[in-house]
């Protein structure tokens, strides 16, 4: 997976200094990311017995798949210079709404489709409301997330005895998709990993070959230049937020298969890990640089790092502290903003 083609486009403003040099400079985050990944795996194999095993690789890929799917929308929003903080709440809402819908007698497949569609709509609404805010858009998405998850919880609690958790018989195929021991056409690979690979390939293709993909980078690079190219900022902004909402709902639905019971706080870790995966991968939060290929690497680095820390016997608290400490040096490797002197 680390060999996925990189999506970083040469920045338009970069002066021509030979294609090779430019390629290396533009792809520096990915080169560093892959290097980091290799270093972590080597460290893991030296420090933790059994780190290099099919079992461990499968669990890392499974967890990375959830993180990667949840980070797709975050990456696209970041490419436009925003952040979507509603992701964990949409994940949690979808996670409790699915069993609640199944309990009404709706077939699970239909319920999943409805929830992903609802996620798209909710995301689009979030984008429409936050469009004018720009710098404050992330807080809008936060408020929007609160509202969504509050509404979902009120809906699921109506007529039930306990708030927060929702239980329903989950179809075996959904469990198979997302569980550790899931099988894909007889292969011992949880299908969610295959879904993640497919989503990655499709995303990379779309970003490279469609007007929409080019609009992302054009807008992130320069709003004015993009508007001169007749790229609608509003439509792109709406689209990335819709994608973010849809992918969050999709992740929430899949997480139900993983955990077995609807739990609204299941999305909470994704508030910060999606952002971390995006920045560790090397997508600039200012917009215009990076891409989903980088985020895939970021998600893998983060998951391997966590797995390494768990293997070394660290408590959850210690893991958090170490990951927190490591984010700055990792980002400082390639995402430093230029000195203000050179911005004038």
């Amino acid at each position: 997976m680390t060999s996925t083609p990189n999506t970083t486009f040469p920045r338009m403003k970069a002066p021509a200094r030979g294609r090779m040099l430019q390629w290396i400079r533009c792809n520096r985050p990915s080169v560093i990311g892959v290097g980091l990944l290799v270093a972590l795996v080597v460290m893991g194999s030296l420090l933790v017995p059994g780190f290099i095993s099919v079992q461990n690789a499968r669990s890392i890929l499974l967890l990375a798949a959830f993180l990667g799917l949840a980070s797709l929308g975050q990456t696209m929003v970041a490419l436009l210079g925003g952040l979507d903080l509603s992701i964990p709440y949409v994940i949690g809402a979808a996670n409790i709404l699915l069993p609640s819908l199944i309990n009404t007698g709706m077939p699970a497949g239909l319920a999943m489709a409805i929830l992903v569609l609802a996620g798209l709509v909710v995301g689009a609404l979030n984008g429409a409301l936050s469009y004018k805010l720009q710098g404050q858009a992330l807080i809008m998405s936060l408020g929007f997330g609160f509202a969504v998850v509050g509404a979902a919880q009120i809906y699921t609690t109506l007529g039930s005895a306990v708030g927060g958790n929702v239980f329903a018989p989950i179809p075996a195929w959904l469990t198979n998709i997302a569980a550790f021991n899931g099988r894909f056409f007889g292969l011992p690979i949880p299908p969610v990993i295959v879904i993640w690979i497919a989503v990655t390939v499709v995303t990379l293709f779309i970003v490279r070959n469609t007007w929409f993909g080019h609009s992302l980078y054009a807008l992130g690079g320069s709003r004015v230049a993009a508007s001169r190219l007749l790229i609608s900022e509003f439509r792109t902004w709406l689209a990335v937020h819709a994608i973010s909402g849809g992918m969050s709902a999709f992740t929430g639905v899949l997480l139900l298969g993983f955990s077995g019971g609807g739990y609204v706080a299941v999305g909470d870790p994704y508030l910060f890990t999606t952002v971390a995966a995006v920045v560790i991968g090397g997508t600039s939060l200012l917009g215009g640089g990076g891409g989903y290929g980088s985020t895939v690497i970021g998600a893998l680095v983060l998951t391997v790092l966590t797995s390494l820390l768990v293997g070394m016997g660290m408590s959850f608290a210690a893991q958090q502290a170490v990951v927190g400490l490591l984010i700055i040096p990792m980002v400082a490797l390639y995402a430093r903003t230029p000195h203000i002197r050179s911005q004038i």
Binding site: L83, L129, K132, L133, Q134, G135, Q136, L138, I139, M140, L142, G143, F144, G145, F146, A147, V148, V149, G150, A151, Q153, I154, T157, V162, G163, R223, F272, V275, A276, V279, L285, L286, S315, F316, A317, A318, Q319, Q320, A321, V322, V323, G324, L325, L326, I327, I328, V331, A332, A335, R336, T337, P338, H339, I340, Q343, I344
Partner: protein, 327 residues
């Protein structure tokens, strides 16, 4: 003919305060109808006790946000918690319970950590959001390592603070001290430099403002206010709690926006932040008067969300033409 020009300019400068003031009045009226008990002496005393940490935490965010670059401090909650657990676990645990030591420690830790963050932002040149995000994770983990579960005792003299029986309480004095620090700060040239830096850092830099020092100063001020917030929080819960303070981050950011500050920098102030925090307090207080039963937590969440959305939208409507002009 009365000259209305100074008045109008005052109005225009404080346009962002219209929404919080209107909301505050509406909430006060609603509170008077729903729960008159709030307006008794003990009601006000309790309100001050409960609202003080949030007010101070929101004020702590204000200078940092005003410095621009989208530097909203996500770590404010965990930092508050860090001061709380270290006070209880380390200081009281080692017998250092004098008020001077406690205050000095809280102010020093808050200020030192914030200055450290400012230095990282300035010299490592990583986006502030990332710095504070990593701080959030780091401190949340460290807090749990220092104190795995809530417990411990506060110094003898602080136990009485948490009673909340009279309006003139030590917590009120801490709150006034925080406001006094802010008042002094707004009288200085540093305040103008801070607003310039936040509104347009490049312009401020080229005009000779030492933007790095401004950023350090903003974080220093914010850090001291976090220290005061942590003391009020410790008095409120009368113990150490590694997790609870983390929730202040989202609450304080919401309060900040409710108070009309701009998260893109340059605009904000103590009045707005205090109003925003008070509005947050009144909203949760009002919701508690309704008998939502199992829904109460969800109802609070959905209302915070909706109010945040609406106040942001109103802020945009008020300031949209100017944003367009600036672009």
């Amino acid at each position: 003919m009365i000259d209305t020009k100074p008045f109008r300019s005052l109005m225009r400068r404080n346009e962002h305060l219209f929404v919080p003031i209107a909301l505050f009045i509406v909430l006060l009226v609603a509170a008077a109808l729903r729960s008159p008990g709030l307006f008794t002496s003990s009601g006000v005393a309790g309100a001050i006790l409960v609202a003080a940490p949030l007010i101070l935490a929101t004020m702590a965010l204000t200078p940092i946000v005003m410095a621009g670059r989208g530097s909203v401090d996500l770590a404010v909650g965990p930092l508050l918690g860090f001061i709380n657990v270290t006070l209880v676990q380390w200081l009281v645990g080692s017998g250092w319970t004098s008020p001077v030591t406690i205050f000095a420690w809280a102010l020093f830790v808050g200020a030192a950590y914030q200055v450290l963050q400012a230095l990282v932002i300035i010299y490592v040149r990583v986006a502030p959001v990332i710095v504070t995000l990593s701080s959030y994770l780091f401190l949340t983990g460290v807090n749990l390592m220092i104190m795995p579960r809530a417990g411990g005792v506060v110094p003898e003299w602080m136990t009485k603070w948490g009673a909340g029986t009279s309006i003139i309480s030590p917590v009120l004095f801490v709150l006034i001290a925080g406001l006094a620090i802010w008042f002094v700060f707004t009288r200085t040239a540093f305040h103008i430099h801070l607003r310039m830096t936040g509104a347009d850092e490049r312009m401020a830099y080229t005009s000779g403002v030492r933007t790095n020092w401004v950023r350090i100063g903003a974080h220093l001020l914010g850090g001291m206010l976090v220290g005061l917030a942590a003391i009020c929080h410790t008095a409120l819960i009368s113990s150490g709690d590694p997790v609870q303070a983390g929730t202040y981050t989202l609450q304080a950011i919401t309060a900040l926006v409710l108070g009309g500050a701009s998260l893109s920098g340059g605009r904000g102030g103590a009045i707005g932040s205090v109003l925003g925090a008070l509005n947050m307090f009144l909203i949760s207080h009002l919701l508690a008067t309704f008998n939502f039963g199992m829904f109460s937590g969800f109802a609070t969440q959905i209302s915070f969300g909706l109010i945040l959305i609406i106040s942001l939208l109103i802020n945009v409507l008020l300031t949209a033409p100017k944003i367009q002009a600036m672009r």
